[in-house]
Symmetry: C2
Subunit: 190 residues, 2 copies
Amino acid sequence: MEAKTLLQEHIAKTASLTQEEFDYFFSHFKPLSFKKGQTIISEGDKVDCEYFVVSGCLKAFFINDEIKMYILQFAMPTWWTSDYNALYNQTPAQINVDCITDAEVLCLSSSDREKLCAEFHQIEHFFRWRTNKGYIASQKRLLSFMNNNVKTRYEELLALYPQLYNLVPKHLIAAYLGVSRETLSRLHNS
Amino acid sequence: MEAKTLLQEHIAKTASLTQEEFDYFFSHFKPLSFKKGQTIISEGDKVDCEYFVVSGCLKAFFINDEIKMYILQFAMPTWWTSDYNALYNQTPAQINVDCITDAEVLCLSSSDREKLCAEFHQIEHFFRWRTNKGYIASQKRLLSFMNNNVKTRYEELLALYPQLYNLVPKHLIAAYLGVSRETLSRLHNS
């Protein structure tokens, strides 16, 4: 689907904008294409934008002091991603975002988002709802970390991203769950 | 400080409301008092409200299948808390909220929050900002879980809640960090 149509349908689920208002809103987004493996945000970067995924799949991840990778989020079409702490607090990025597959995204700067929210109540409403969804997803991810029951966590992951098992290399799914590849195969076949 | 003044000063940092608008906004909040140890949300509950802390300290926590308690958040004056997943998705609570000390809170129902956001752009703006802060705090909490460096996590905790070490029993701070009380003493004295 064309990027503009995808974003318009995504917004329309939450906010009522006229075509003219949406055209104006859309004019603030910058389309970007990335190749599989390319990095969008690296730890330490200054972060000015958030990204709406049009096609492909991104991952947001963190590498700890023991060089262990943890995946915070897989971002698929109509998902948004960034390092929101770095974006809002103007601190260096603590996480990385890169492309699991070739990907197209729409990039919105923080200053444009704030301007648009101030100009249109409906756009502020959309971003409240969007942030809310992100907050809830983050809380669920936190609970899944606290929950030692790997089978439950695996089922939650598949409920959240039904197409994931076929789309994403198995070692990344294992890194999301914090388990070995062998444990993942056992969960998948049980 | 009186509950109404505390909320008004809290809101005024982000949103411009006339006194009349704030009075109307405030009329939707219900003041509640709790004793130390009392439960506000239990796992499995239907959740209809979110809570603005006026005085005292609450904790939001999760108990996993191995009966280990994890603390998601300490909520002090001017912090908001609830089980936001349960609140927005109308699912049973997955977490618990109770009172570490005697506490006074202001309770706002989900339906009133949505009504107020629709009525006033400035209130929608406030709640977008508030949710955003919650989202960022949740992301930081998630990163702190992924980070094996306990000393860094302890320093982050004290930066987030400077008065915590004197206010909250040590075993709860240890439960937030996921370490033993002995490790906590060592960190505190190092």
